[in-house]
């Protein structure tokens, strides 16, 4: 009996079959991305038709004659049937043509490429703060469940949940900029630093490092810190709460008992084993957080006069600049699709069960 050795049969397959399966998987992902994108264009197109903004009127102005109005209406294709209009819209979007912005008189795509890096810079730092502080706080709350540390962290994250971001922004400016002078004020740079570093990525902190301009970097950094911290606090609140609940469910698993029975330190049990499993769920949460940061940027950027996507969208909306609004919406939608794809790609890295 003692010599009964048996290896579990492993599925073995040839390289050809494996690459065929991989190709099919990739094809599947691309197909679903294409479908999502099509849905997105549908939504933006019909939103553009439904909202009570007359695109013709926005171009010709309300003093134009009947004839001019008609001519422009035909010129921009509004006399065509809806499916034809949609088809033309889709073709344009695929070629990166979102039309011309009314306020800036630049092509919308060009505008978006200019403002988006500013928002990305803000969102990246905010997400960094959210993860680096939120995950450890959530873990810490979970291992101290029910004690005062847990209560404190839960209270702080509830506060982050429920506090309006523009109010936090104003208070932050008042306190840290006006009173204490720890950080720089609104905007991305002091005026004296404008146009010193050449644009490479559009993110000033990175561009200034590339150009080797230390002074510009620090000025940009101190401008960035406050809005990023306030946005970061919001994502921290969400990440910490989710981490806490994921960790609580992991810590009650049988394998945690087994690792304790092996004599591992609580540090290893919590931070390597339990958190290693919690990451599987956290990947989705973090991807969604990043998406919501782009949305949260609208209010933050308005308060901080941050020339990013949020401020651009706000200005376009208030000026009935339809092309710009739809272009911006499309960009946010594409970012969401990209984030979903990215989290699909990251899953197998943190969860061996997702590796095919």
């Amino acid at each position: 009996m003692g010599g009964a050795a048996q290896a579990a049969p492993l599925p073995t397959e040839g390289a050809a079959r494996r690459s065929w399966r991989y190709a099919r998987q990739t094809g599947g992902v691309l197909f679903s991305v294409a479908l999502t994108f099509l849905g997105l264009t549908c939504v933006t197109f019909f939103v553009g038709r439904i909202i009570p903004i007359d695109p013709v009127l926005a171009i010709v102005g309300d003093k134009a004659s009947r004839e001019t109005y008609e001519r422009v209406r035909i010129e921009i294709g509004l006399d065509q049937p809806i499916p034809v209009q949609y088809w033309r819209y889709l073709m344009k979007v695929l070629h990166g043509e979102f039309g011309t912005s009314l306020i800036t008189a630049h092509p919308v795509l060009q505008d978006l490429l200019r403002v988006f890096p500013a928002t990305l810079e803000l969102a990246f730092l905010a997400l960094f703060i959210g993860i680096v502080c939120g995950v450890p706080l959530g873990v810490f709350a979970a291992i101290n469940r029910g004690r005062w540390q847990d209560q404190l962290i839960r209270f702080a994250s509830l506060l982050g949940y429920s506090m309006p971001v523009f109010w936090l922004g104003l208070i932050g400016l008042l306190l840290f900029y006006a009173k204490l002078g720890w950080v720089e004020g609104p905007g991305r740079l002091d005026v004296s630093f404008d146009d010193i570093v050449p644009t490479v990525t559009g993110m000033i902190t990175i561009d200034s490092l590339i150009a080797g301009e230390d002074e510009v970097f620090w000025n940009a950094f101190w401008h960035l810190v406050l809005p990023a911290s306030i946005l970061g606090y919001l994502s921290l609140a969400y990440v910490a709460r989710m981490t806490r609940s994921f960790m609580l469910s992991q810590l009650s698993q049988e394998y945690v008992l087994a690792t304790l029975a092996k004599g591992l330190s609580p540090f290893r049990v919590v931070w390597i084993h339990a958190l290693g499993n919690a990451w599987v769920q956290l990947v989705t949460v973090i991807a969604l957080t990043f998406g919501s940061l782009l949305e949260g940027a609208v209010l933050t950027e308005t308060v901080f006069a941050w020339p990013g996507l949020g401020l651009y969208m706000k200005n376009s909306l208030f000026n009935a600049d339809l092309n710009a609004v739809l272009g911006g919406t499309m960009l946010v939608g594409i970012v969401y699709i990209g984030l979903n794809m990215l989290s699909d790609l990251i899953y197998p890295l943190v969860d061996p069960r997702a590796r095919k």
């Binding site: 009964a4 579990a8 049988e254 394998y255 008992l257 087994a258 029975a261 290693g276 499993n277």
Partner: protein
Amino acid sequence: MSEVLLNVRNLRVTYPGDDGDFRAVRNVSFSLGRERLGIVGESGSGKSTTGRAIMGLVQRPGRIEADELTLFDKQGGKTDLRAMSERGFRALRGQRLAMVLQDPKYSLDPVMRVGDQIAETHRAHLRSSKAEAYKASLDMLNAVHIRDPERVYGMYPHQVSGGMGQRIMIAMMLIAGPDILIADEPTSALDVTVQTQVLAIMDDLVQRRGMGLILISHNLHLVSSFCDRVLVMYAGQVVETCEAGKLHEATHPYTRGLLAALPQLGNRRHELPQLQRDPAWAADL
């Protein structure tokens, strides 16, 4: 049973509750030598809690008390587990005391390679280098009769079968050379054909290393055929202790009732008797 490895006298585990304390384990006493001791009992009889109390793994707010809870080492040194700090327990777990849990599907970390989980125990206790721990893990996989240990080392828990998972679990728990292994329903989650195989591997290792084994099970057949001695637990107390071979001479009505309810080959009966419980069994002995 020559020398004593573990002495337990009047072990009590209590959970405070809203309507009074719940006494999960009540005055359990036994001593363990280099032998196979079986603990049988139904769900909730306190057999698993007894095992966990010895490991110091009873979760808050559970309370462990005992008149004696002593671990003896080969040189005859004594360790009082009652006064043990959490840090002290950590050094004992894995190295002096180890535990195999019921279902390898849940008791192995799903996102870590099984080999690394085995090596981890080695590294934690023997302060070994990565290479030494890897080598020792492969040897240990060999010892639990796993062919091609290099390949299995890199597999994840969801890629191995139940029997293989349980052998990996045994390897993980025995690699740091403990004196006592507490096996809590180690084969209940496995196919019947694999059960005997896993038990045989475990038994072989325990015998060769001169360890003490506590086998916790609800399976009376398994325990009586596999162990040297059997404790029968009911409602948190040990109601009967006897030699496994003399189980048929058991006197307690609970044990007798259980034995009578076992179906036997070649003994045709239309109906197996049902266990008639007497509330007096649950009273303090």
